[in-house]
């Protein structure tokens, strides 16, 4: 947090990239205000805003009462009058307590009134930490199915940094899903590219291949890459597409890749039924049907809540092994 990290730096922890993006954007724009439970003196449950109170003061780094709906509503109202609020959910799961403000007030405001709502909600989500049913959920598709929201889900420090700054600059409500499992495990360079002033659809080919396309985001992109590495040793070349931005969706990029590889699988940590993997599969089956040479497969969490016990949890989250075996099936090997 202490240094301006908008210039290139090597091997930044994912969690530090988030802190840096917040700090840099607060330095650049005095209308940026942080709100959340325990973010001030304590620096937040994950210490992402440690030191912020000292640097930015208690007017811009606001501890809130435990009131997600009220807090998000206040963020919305203030954003309509020139404030750029960034609201931290202590865990992504708690967003359900502020759901109505997001889907009915924030998401629809611009369409209804042509009044922008520049608002970011940070959502530390996902599993792998043995944190149980209410601290591990992957709920992005509730919001992807709600027109008017942008949704971001970075897998890398660089994207985490760049997209958080862009999200704050974007005049729309942006849900920024950050993955807790990656906080202290993912470490990679920040980028030097100038930060864009809004979130646009992006898909990025992390590994190109000829045999099958995979689409994933967040933690699952890392696991998919592990699987691709394993399969590569078996002579199977996977084209791994990461979606740092889920909405708007760059589906062109996905379709183009599938047209090349003729096979596709979507890997996500969210539960299967009604999830965003279905959306991607549906688009492929509408627009790339003639290219397909295998079923389009979703590799996901089963349709049940996250269990507390680590072994139980581990058995639910798509593993590199499970991804490999499903992809092999699709390739009929």
């Amino acid at each position: 947090m202490q240094t301006d990290t908008s210039t290139e730096s090597d091997d930044t922890l994912y969690i530090d990239a988030i802190s840096a993006a917040l700090a840099d954007e607060m330095r650049a724009d005095p209308s940026v205000v942080l709100m959340g439970q325990d973010i001030a003196g304590h620096g937040g449950a994950f210490k992402i805003t440690r030191g912020f109170l000292e640097e930015f003061g208690d007017q811009r780094v606001r501890n809130t009462p435990i009131a997600e709906s009220g807090t998000i509503g206040i963020a919305i109202g203030s954003s309509m009058l020139g404030i750029k609020p960034v609201v931290e959910m202590q865990f992504a799961d708690f967003i359900s307590c502020g759901f109505n403000q997001i889907v009915n007030v924030a998401a629809k405001m611009y369409w209804r009134t042509k009044h922008p709502v520049p608002l970011v909600i940070r959502l530390p989500g996902g599993g792998g930490m043995g944190a149980g049913a209410f601290h591990s959920q992957n709920i992005e598709n509730w919001f992807l199915h709600t027109p008017g929201l942008k949704v971001v889900s970075p897998a890398y420090s660089g994207d985490a940094y760049r997209l958080l700054r862009a999200a704050i600059r974007d005049p729309n409500p942006v849900l920024y899903f950050e993955h807790k499992f990656l906080y202290r495990r993912e470490r990679s360079p920040l980028q030097t590219a100038p930060v864009p002033d809004r979130i646009l659809g992006e898909s990025s080919i992390l590994r190109s291949g000829t045999d099958i396309t995979t689409v994933s985001w967040g933690w699952m992109t890392h696991r998919t890459l592990e699987a691709a590495e394993i399969l590569s040793q078996e002579g199977i070349e996977v084209e791994v597409i990461d979606l740092p931005v889920l909405s708007p969706l760059d589906h062109r990029g996905i379709i183009a890749s599938v047209e090349k590889t003729q096979r596709a699988a979507i890997i996500h940590e969210a539960t299967c039924t009604g999830g965003f993997g279905a959306e991607i599969a549906a688009r492929i089956c509408d627009e790339a049907i003639w290219s397909l040479d295998a079923p389009v497969r979703r590799i996901t969490y089963p349709d049940s809540p996250p269990p507390f016990h680590k072994g139980l949890e581990a058995s639910r989250i798509p593993s590199p092994e499970r991804i490999c075996s499903e992809l092999r099936q699709l390739l009929d090997v």
């Binding site: 005095p30 209308s31 205000v33 007017q59 606001r62 809130t64 009462p65 009131a67 709906s69 009220g70 807090t71 998000i72 509503g73 206040i74 963020a75 919305i76 109202g77 203030s78 954003s79 309509m80 009058l81 020139g82 404030i83 109505n100 403000q101 009915n104 007030v105 998401a107 629809k108 611009y110 369409w111 209804r112 009134t113 042509k114 009044h115 922008p116 709502v117 027109p147 008017g148 942008k150 005049p171 729309n172 809004r198 708007p248």
Partner: protein
């Protein structure tokens, strides 16, 4: 007022840290507002004109509903004293958040009635400055909005009071409702938060029905607003009924204003049919908010005059005697009686004000009705860019 230079008017300065325009905080401590005490009938005359305009507005749309020209209407009849007086207590630069029975506040806040009906407020000193800008255009657009016309604020995409009107150059910041009751309370508090954050002395007021006091957002917003001492006034229009539900099935306390104690803020119950009483309470609340002393909860006691929405049978739930009592305590009758009894207005002038307001509304509605419907092929973006 309508040809004021935007640059010298109550323009909002969006830079954080810049205090908001108009009076500095220390000037506003006198309570109630001087206008109310000094010229006893001045405020009453002014409120009367806007209340009458609001009444004619509603009567006109009620009629359109009955003749089938309108598919739905929520009447504000009976709420005018509360809404008009409240809007008299705010100024340019303040934010206003309304519900479905707040035409009085909207009309008072948006319009310079003298610009629309020249001479209707001859020798009255203003309680507050009328809003700058083009009142006629605003009134026409407002009417178009009610009628789902392209020229309305939402180009037909949103119904009646579900729209925003922001005219930054005049300090007009009006955020309309969404249907979900209670949802706009935190949003209103959020506009107050923006003012606080920007070092401005502007305030936010928000109207809700007593039904919305049962929602979680009522509590979450009031709690945060009180902890943060936001310049926010929440006005409960307690008309004793929520759709078909009486207060006895909505809450169990004696006065909703008592909930203020649980937030450590002032709570005031006031006769919402008495425009002068409401004005005084609201001026105190606004002064408090401007001074940085935080929110106030105001409970304006009203009575149900109409069904929940026109054409439904929800009024059947209201005992006949109770209904009659409310109708007898019509806020417009009250204000007119005071003006006549005080020898300020003649019955003839009262009638003339009514006539002029009625024809203004009729003419504007007629004009709006002749304006185009939205173009169904025109796309509308869900994202700002």
């Amino acid at each position: 007022m309508t040809d004021q230079d935007p640059d010298t008017a109550h323009s909002r300065k969006p830079n954080p840290g810049t205090p908001f325009p108009s009076k500095p905080v220390s000037d506003i401590e006198s309570t109630p507002h001087p206008a109310a005490s000094e010229t006893a009938f001045g405020s009453l005359k002014e409120m009367h004109a806007y209340m009458r305009l609001a009444r004619e507005w509603d009567l006109r749309f009620e009629k359109m509903f009955r003749t089938g020209a309108l598919s739905k209407w929520y009447s504000s009849v009976g709420n005018e004293a509360t809404t008009v007086a409240s809007a008299c207590a705010i100024e340019a630069g303040d934010s206003l958040l309304t519900l479905h029975r707040d035409s009085g506040a909207i009309l008072r806040h948006y319009l310079d009635i003298n610009a629309l009906l020249p001479g209707i407020l001859p020798q009255v000193p203003a309680i507050r400055e009328p809003m700058g800008g083009d009142s006629k255009q605003r009134f026409l657009r407002l009417t178009c909005q009610m009628l789902g016309r392209e020229h309305g604020f939402s180009s037909g995409h949103e119904r009646s009071y579900h729209y925003n009107l922001f005219e930054e150059e005049w300090g007009l910041f009006h955020i309309g409702m969404i249907s979900h009751l209670g949802s706009m309370i935190p949003v209103a508090a959020g506009t107050a938060f923006a003012y606080q954050q920007q070092g401005s002395d502007r305030v936010a007021i928000n109207f809700i029905g007593e039904g919305a006091t049962s929602t979680g957002d009522f509590h979450e917003a009031l709690n945060i607003a009180s902890v943060w001492k936001l310049p926010f006034i929440l006005v409960i229009e307690n008309n004793r009924w929520a759709f078909s539900t009486p207060t006895s099935q909505q809450y169990a306390c004696d006065h909703l204003a008592d909930r203020a104690l649980g937030y450590g803020i002032p709570g005031v119950q006031v006769d919402g049919t008495d425009a002068e009483a409401v004005l005084s309470v609201m001026q105190t609340a606004v002064a408090r908010a401007r001074a940085g002393d935080g929110p106030t909860l105001v409970e304006a006691m009203l009575g149900r005059h109409r069904g929940h929405s026109e054409g439904d049978d929800s009024l059947q739930q209201v005992p006949e005697q109770e209904l009659q009592q409310y109708v007898e305590q019509d806020p417009l009758d009250l204000v007119e009686k005071r003006l006549i009894d005080g020898g300020v207005f003649s019955r003839a002038w009262i009638d003339e004000v009514r006539e002029r307001c009625a024809s203004l509304v009729t003419n504007t509605v007629d004009q709006a009705m002749s304006m185009p419907e939205p173009d169904v092929h025109q796309p509308r973006s869900i994202y700002a860019d």
